[in-house]
């Protein structure tokens, strides 16, 4: 379980962008750091931190940061 804010922080780490730069409204295609390696890192992160097994195919359906949060369901609070 983690809060939305904690999730943004984890996402910023995966993308290796400045702290606070993810607001939650971003389209994934507008984030140049969201490449195939970032996808692998994201899958590893949610596996390790939230015990969620996300397949790359499900993840490919996400269009924006909000969709990423939806994919994690009740693991993200707030």
């Amino acid at each position: 379980m983690m809060t939305k804010q904690e999730f943004f922080k984890e996402l910023e780490e995966v993308l290796e962008v400045d702290a606070g730069s993810i607001t939650g409204d971003e389209l994934l295609k507008d984030l140049p750091e969201w490449d195939s390696l970032a996808v692998l890192s994201f899958i590893a992160m949610v596996n390790e931190k939230l015990d969620v097994n996300l397949s790359a195919d499900r993840l490919a359906k996400a269009k924006n940061v909000g969709d990423l949060i939806l994919l994690l369901g009740n693991k993200i609070s707030g």
């Binding site: 995966v14 290796e16 195939s36 390696l37 970032a38």
Partner: protein
């Protein structure tokens, strides 16, 4: 009347296979038993080793579960086994760890564990095998490398490091152990249908998986494809082969 010969037969030769609980290790043990060998099945999962046992031909086989990450214990453990099974003709190191890990998430700990099982244990097994009264007069070691030890892929640096290490150590070991008539060779498969590759492919999109399959001109391999290569290198068919890596990859590295 033609009498078919089997130059790859391994009648009554005792062969230890690590990673025998699944995938390539399991299929190799099965094939070797069909060629007449006596198997020593090694892995951590006793239940799965017992399942492998039920799939073998013949009945002189033994299970010796062991966690290869305890590398310093490997030599004494192997001596114990030889006490129960008699001398070993062959050793196949099919146990291994794989993970896809971009550098940004690669940790020292995960890297060390990977290298420990894939590489350090490989050396420890050779160290154990070359001890007095362990191996038969002539004998053969086969390591499982990978095309990832020859070519690269983003996210595979740790795995590539470990598989490249096996290709290199095979050569030095071949030279060091030839005086004891121990041949040492490596097999380098591309993607083979096993639990390990299922895990790898699950982390990829359908598009990426299709692309990978297309890079194998002859399609994805089966465990038996690799087992045949291992048997070839173990048997008298490879009497004059040592220090080499046999690429079994459906054409993957031809690009």
């Amino acid at each position: 009347m033609i009498l078919l010969i089997n130059p790859m037969e391994l009648m009554d030769r005792t062969i230890l296979v690590t990673g025998a609980s699944s995938g390539i290790g399991r299929e190799t043990a099965i094939l070797l038993s069909q060629l007449g060998a006596r198997l020593i099945l090694v892995g951590r999962n006793t239940e799965q080793l017992e399942k492998t046992m039920t799939l073998l031909d013949g009945n002189a086989h033994q299970i010796h579960a062991f966690d290869l990450s305890f590398v310093d214990d490997i030599p004494s453990w192997m001596k114990e086994i030889v006490g129960k099974t008699g001398k070993l003709y062959g050793l196949v190191h099919s146990a291994g760890i794989q993970f896809t890990s971009p550098l940004q998430i690669t940790t020292g700990a995960s890297l060390e564990e990977l290298m420990r099982v894939n590489v350090t244990a490989a050396l420890a097994l050779a160290k154990a095998f070359r001890q007095k009264n362990v191996a038969t007069t002539v004998s053969s070691i086969v390591y499982l490398s990978s095309v990832m030890g020859l070519v690269g892929q983003a996210g595979q640096s740790a795995y590539s490091a470990s598989k490249g290490a096996l290709i290199a150590l095979t050569k030095s070991l071949a030279l060091e152990l030839s005086r004891q008539n121990i041949r040492v060779n490596c097999v380098a498969p591309a993607i083979v249908k096993t639990e390990m590759s299922k895990k790898i492919l699950q982390a990829l999109t359908l598009e990426q998986v299709t692309q990978i399959e297309t890079m194998h001109p002859l399609g994805i391999g089966t465990p038996r494809d690799v087992a045949y290569a291992i048997a070839f290198l173990l048997a008298d068919t490879a009497r004059w082969i040592t220090g080499t890596t046999l690429v079994v990859d459906g054409g993957y590295t031809a690009h």
